[in-house]
């Protein structure tokens, strides 16, 4: 058992190392090209300069503020969008009447490109936090809503019948059968929603923010500091990956019973699944 775990850990580590080879080579080539004067530093600064800029920002405490503001926006937008999607998705997934009543409207709203809401949200909610959080929430809403609704609809009718045999109905049936059976689809929706949340926070912070990583991007462009832009992009990548990893770990905890989830994971720990989640 221990030996097998060691071996799979070693395999995972070696595959992470392999994945690092190409980026490391690219970084080295980039650095060398910059130092040799092959690329213009005002367009593409060397990696070492990006790192130095980030360090400077971090030391002054400015970076922590921007990161905190962006994280909070994503968090509140995610919570708001998830709450609405969970409520409506549960209603339309559970009851055909509610589905016929609400789903056509929501599907119609879904076909609006979400960024198109920006002017209206600013008009309604002002340029401060409310409009930004709302935009992010809209982005988070649809993946969560759609996955929850279809997850509920797809629950094996035969399992529901077992619940009925034991006299479960209403909330009891939801808690004992529907909820656990829907959890895999729900987590898929949450992860998709979080990904869109990160996409939309950039859009939201483009529209007149004075703080946040998105603001830092715009600021870097306007003040001609490409190192700041590249640094912000890298931070977005890291934060997005980390938050997704947290959700994936939570999901793994709840969904370890799944045939495909753990079983495939354990079997292929050295191939596909684990490195994707581990290489941050």
């Amino acid at each position: 058992m221990t030996r097998r775990r060691n071996r799979s850990a070693a395999a995972a580590a070696s595959s992470v190392l392999l994945g690092v080879v190409v980026p490391a080579l690219l970084l080295a080539a980039w650095e060398v090209a910059s130092r040799a004067g092959l690329v213009r530093p005002n367009l593409l600064p060397a990696p070492s300069m990006v790192a130095a800029t980030l360090l400077d920002l971090a030391r002054s405490g400015e970076l922590a503020d921007h990161v905190e503001v962006t994280l909070l926006r994503v968090l509140f937008g995610f919570l708001l969008g998830t709450a609405a999607a969970t409520l409506l998705g549960a209603l339309t997934g559970y009851s055909p009447l509610w589905r016929r009543l609400l789903d056509p409207t929501l599907q119609a709203l879904r076909s609006i490109p979400s960024i198109a809401w920006v002017p209206l949200f600013i008009l309604w909610l002002g340029i401060f936090e409310a409009s930004k959080v709302t935009l992010i929430a809209v982005g988070v809403f649809f993946p969560v809503y759609l996955n929850l609704m279809s997850g509920l609809q797809d629950v094996d009718r035969k399992l529901v019948e077992v619940g009925r045999v034991y006299g479960f109905s209403g909330p009891m049936l939801v808690r004992r059968v529907l909820l656990p059976a829907t959890l895999p689809a729900y987590f898929t929706g949450l992860r998709g929603g979080l990904g869109l949340g990160w996409m939309f926070v950039v859009a939201a912070e483009f529209m007149g923010a004075s703080e946040g990583l998105g603001f830092l991007l715009v600021d870097g462009q306007q003040t001609g500091r490409p190192a700041v832009i590249i640094g912000s992009i890298i931070l977005f990548a890291i934060l997005g990956k980390l938050s997704d990893l947290l959700l994936a770990l939570a999901g793994r905890r709840f969904l370890s019973w799944q045939d495909s989830f753990t079983a495939a994971d354990e079997r292929n720990s050295h191939v596909a699944d684990r490195p994707r989640l581990q290489a941050v």
Binding site: L159, Y166, A181, L183
Partner: protein, 278 residues
Amino acid sequence: MLRIARVSKRFDARGAGADGGVFAVANIDLTVERGEIVALVGTSGCGKSTLLRMVGGLETPSAGTIDLDGRPVAGPRPDAGFVFQEPRLMPWLSVRDNVAFGLGKLSRAERASLADAALDRVGLAASAQALPRELSGGMAQRVALARALVTRPSVLLLDEPFSALDAFTRMSLQDHLLEIWRDDRPTMLFVTHDIEEALMLADRVVVMLGRPGRIHRDEPVDLPRPRRRTDVRVARWRERLLDDLSLALSEGSPAADAVAPAAEIADDRQKRRVANAR
């Protein structure tokens, strides 16, 4: 005691008027004594599963009444355990929690000890911690049996419980079911399309035929227990039942191991006959 009186079931056909719809079973009268094992055998589509589901409270009769121990069946109830054709285990629950699924408000420790006792009865005490995906088909169906037994129901309803299993697993589970029955003698009503299974297990065989299904034969199986699958008397019974199921017995009648396919052929013939009659 289970009493089924003049029960009919009509399924409403889509778009049919008030007198439309399809009768699954018509005018069924059947009484099962306490502790009796009754097999419902019949051609496919004769409504035997529908009848069982009505007894279990999963369907409501269109007409007639079903009483279980003197109380009318108005829905699923704890004194009737149900075993489906498939195990239908909750994949997110351990074997123990699956067995405890139907237990009402009890403490965690009580639930666990009752579940473990039920698992012990089906010979799976060692697998209490396992997840359903780790079980073989036969093991999963035994867990389903334990889940039905854990509430100590007075009636056990089984809907083709072993039909999805291979022949050897099926035989061992049939023997196992009889052992369990010997312990606290629940009334057992089971649907099967396997004539041999009916003859090995049942005190009484009820043959249902036609659409809508009606009872064609209702007779005690007067064979001493333990029964052997190779017994001549079992073979004689089997011929009679196959005859019922409209299989004309040709010379070189089916070998003992070809019973289930033979029953299916009978099914097809019956279907064709019904179709022609219309």
